[in-house]
Symmetry: C2
């Protein structure tokens, strides 16, 4: 193969020194005489030598590579996390392996375990595994950082999103606008974030006089949201809470096709605030989670662990309500000025004082 560079032995021979010395020079160990070091560098340059990362990995017991394991890379939410993670890792000279489990929980464990052997650490995003299986998996993956998923009893570094609060803000926003009958377009069954969002929404509806909630099994993609539109219309709700932005987009698109005006006739909200959300027509009201930051933070956490640093406090991101054009006063509502003040600027990470408590 072409890119098979010179080996350390060849450099050693060319410079007339031992391999140990070459190694020391390449790694900047100070215990080499300047004159020798220069000779070694010259030989290395002449041969175009650079140490084999694979051989180094074996000798050092670390690969300078980390992995990102995710159920579905087609979701822009995860793509943003991926970028944040990848760029942050690159700054520290680490490479990133990406692996998709294709929304198949059964595949997740073997995939993660296999991949773990090739890398120094793993970032596991939005695992679709049941709590018990995840709790079993995590120790086999250490060091690992969980993103968008916590394990109740387990003390593992994780970056989470307060889905309940996010969805509560969205619901409050809709109630304020006069919507009383909401429909939830639910995400994948195995998704923990779907459960959280649903529970948050139920709670919000319970707490609000005269509010009703219809729950529709849906999915996590465009097509799912679009397909759900007839059912949405049939159920008579005026406010649609989609599992995520993608589903909301699908709903928006389906409603548009049916000639139903958003937000005049129906209001729609999403979750995540993926980059496209501000560019739809109308722009999507959503609960904004700082995806890129999540990736960067995940790296930061993992990096500390890789250096045997002290465990960091876990962080829960409180989504920020992002009010845009897809929500408006309910059709029959008494109208009047809408106050969007209530839920204001509460962005930024919140330190969770008791990481292992639910």
């Amino acid at each position: 193969m072409s890119p098979a560079g010179a080996t350390i032995s060849q450099v050693a021979a060319a410079a007339g020194v031992s391999r140990a010395t070459v190694s020391r020079v390449m790694n900047g160990r100070a215990t080499v005489a300047p004159e020798l070091a220069e000779r070694v560098r010259a030989a290395a340059a002449a041969l175009g030598y650079s140490p084999s990362p694979v051989a180094r990995s074996l000798a050092l017991g670390r690969t300078s590579t980390v992995a990102f394991v995710v159920p579905d890379l087609s979701n822009p939410m995860f793509q943003s996390v991926l970028r944040g993670l990848g760029q942050a890792a690159a700054k520290e000279g680490h490479r990133l392996i990406v692996a998709e489990s294709n929304e198949d929980p059964a595949e997740e464990t073997p995939l993660a375990v296999e991949i773990r052997r090739r890398v120094d650490g793993i970032v596991l995003a939005a695992s679709r595994l049941p709590d018990d299986e995840l709790a079993e998996l995590v120790p086999r993956l250490e060091p690992v950082v969980l993103v968008n998923r916590e394990v109740p009893g387990l003390d593992v570094p994780s970056l989470s999103v307060d889905h309940r609060a996010g969805v509560r803000d969205l619901a409050a926003h809709l109630f304020e606008l006069g919507h009383s009958r909401l429909v939830y377009l639910a995400g994948p069954q195995a998704s923990a974030s779907d459960r959280e969002r649903l529970h948050g929404l139920r709670a919000a509806v319970c707490d609000t006089a005269g509010a009703e909630l219809v729950e529709l099994r849906c999915g996590s993609g465009f097509a799912d949201g679009q397909a759900a539109v007839p059912a949405v219309v049939a159920c008579g709700a005026s406010g649609v809470v989609a599992y995520n932005d993608l589903v909301a987009f699908g709903a928006l698109s389906g409603l548009h096709e049916l000639g139903i005006a958003v937000p005049e006739q129906i209001s729609v909200v999403g979750f995540d605030d993926i980059p496209f959300a501000r560019y739809t027509t109308p722009p999507l009201t959503t609960a904004s989670v700082p995806q890129f930051d999540l990736g960067e933070q995940a790296w930061q956490r993992l990096w500390v662990l890789l250096q045997d640093g002290p465990p960091q406090h876990n962080v829960t991101y409180r989504p920020r309500l992002e009010v845009r054009g897809s929500t408006g006063p309910a059709p029959g509502a008494a109208g009047g000025e809408v106050t969007t003040s209530q839920v204001a600027d509460n962005r930024g990470p919140t330190v969770d004082p008791s990481p292992s408590a639910l």
Copy 2:
């Protein structure tokens, strides 16, 4: 560290055989007596042994990993290629390293070279390198597959898109609709695809009586498209040809904000057909390139090379004109029924009989 499994020596000792025998059993070499093999398997299972991929990589000289190097991962176009590549590689038991060069041509060469040492092959997408530098880089990367970029004099496996034809189809579509004054929102300077698209567009305009073209330096993202809107309006064109879908989205959004109706007042077309394109309002007319396929094909090409297979014919994808709602008759045009027949179903890869010829 936790996931440090047993080593081959431990298994050998436990089974009372040599390491060579364990290795043979693990790799299914037939030359081991059934009874011994069983003993080895039992020992391996008992110890939870699985061979170290790093050690294997060193011994075998291959890593079962490939890399995807791309200038900007925030573009959904590349994300789709990434997924196609990753999924196809996974089916063959290979892992994928992703690396972003952040649109910085100077970073590309060292990045690719460094990464090449950790993987068996590289897929290099939309390189921003000048032809001569790329021609110099490619041999150091072999085996390599180029996506969305060709090198004129060089015989290297590449998957390309016929940008000129795509843009010509788009222009023809607009001319048919009565648009005579077009504006092109140009992409990154270093982008070869931008040059191709621009040339194609110029040619189309030249060939059409009464057609005019305004060229605006723009960029490759949403924000760029949006920022260009005032200039678009000022230039008086009725048809906007954006460098890519992202830019088109930005334009769509900016025009909407200004209250300019699309397609009634201005028509907009993009390029790529990223997944979102069909869900904007109005849905975007664009030149559709099969991004996922591109990724899969890139793997297929690379896989053949990794097995010392014969060089494959290069493939040029002819984008398919995807007419959607963002284009309509020009405002002052004589109207009448619009015929969208002309450029019909010409999708699918085209074998390029002379790979090295331009």
